[in-house]
Amino acid sequence: MALDRNDKNELMRTFEAFAESRDSALRDQLIEAHLGLAEYLARRFANRGEPLDDLVQVASLGLVKAVERFDPARGLEFTTFATPTIVGELKRHFRDKGWAVRVPRRVQELHLRVTKVIDDLSLEMGRSPLIPEIAQRAGITEDEVIEAIDAGSAYRSASLDAGRSDDEESPGLLGQLGDLDPELASAERRAALGPLIGALPEREQVMLYLRFYEGMTQSEIAKHLGISQMHVSRLLARSLQQLRELAEDAS
């Protein structure tokens, strides 16, 4: 990726020209010249459960943003400027996917498999399944089940506004909330739950309300909202974590 001085100077001139004209041909040229950087950074996030191709795409998107925002007049090297933008984009990708960066792929796959099994069994049996039942259906050991359900906690680093689900079986939360009793959305509830909870996204407030004030179980909430039980579990865990942090900050 090392560029010699001439290349660098030429790139800098192209950046200046682009800053002036916002010409999309120049922009494309600049993006192309730095695709290597995007790929290089994408590789650093490889082996974390996402296909490299996807990561390169995400990194390229970050690169596009960086090219558009770069101001050559500030005298910064483009790579210095672009790297945090691209890495930020990659991190956001992992976060929006719901996975903290360090969950090994094997556990992620187990987690997804186990989530599905839990939902299936809950439906079939009309109750929350036992670990041996989950293990048997999923064809894995009980320890693996424990590990897999705990992997849901890795979702904690998900962004506040994520809450979407990538599997087709369980549609995103937002779309589900329309069916809720409108009373739940009232200011009364917010007052009852306190100002800290008010800081959480609406859908998480509803979940906390259902879980801790209405006393619904996670499976009941899952059914109510039409999402997977595991999704409820990790959203709740995340909300609680956030509340604790807010509470500690406040004290």
Binding site: R127, A237, E245
Partner: protein, 125 residues
């Protein structure tokens, strides 16, 4: 498995709470708790350990003792921290959460020592 006891001692930092939670989940599974109940235990362990450790951690060790009873799991956590820990008085919300997920719980502080205790009964047959 009546009376089996598992002890875990670790630095009181939030990054290690996962270990406490995972252990709780593993043992609850061993006691025949169902998925919902296990999630409840994990929430309670998180909530209470957090009260001891906080977001930034404390200087000192956190010890968690898990007792496997015939139809219940008891978890006791304690630590003596050299740094001045905020008083771990559970907020009303925290108490509400704990009441919803476990059968009994308490959180105490005596001098530099903070301690919690919880009990989760198995309901599933």
């Amino acid at each position: 498995m009546h009376g089996e006891e598992v002890r875990l001692t670790m630095p009181a930092i939030p990054q290690l709470l996962r270990v406490a939670r995972l252990t709780a989940a593993g043992l609850a599974g061993r006691l025949g708790f169902n998925f919902d109940e296990i999630e409840d235990v994990k929430i309670a362990v998180d909530e209470l350990c957090f009260a001891l450790v906080g977001t930034k951690g404390r200087d000192g060790d956190l010890t968690v003792v898990y007792r496997l009873l015939d139809d219940a799991l008891e978890i006791e956590g304690s630590g003596t921290f050299t740094t001045d820990a905020p008083n771990p008085v559970p907020s009303e919300l925290s108490a509400q959460i704990l009441a919803a997920v476990v059968d009994e719980h308490e959180l105490q502080r005596e001098g530099a020592e903070v301690r919690f205790w919880l009990r989760k009964q198995r309901v599933a047959s």
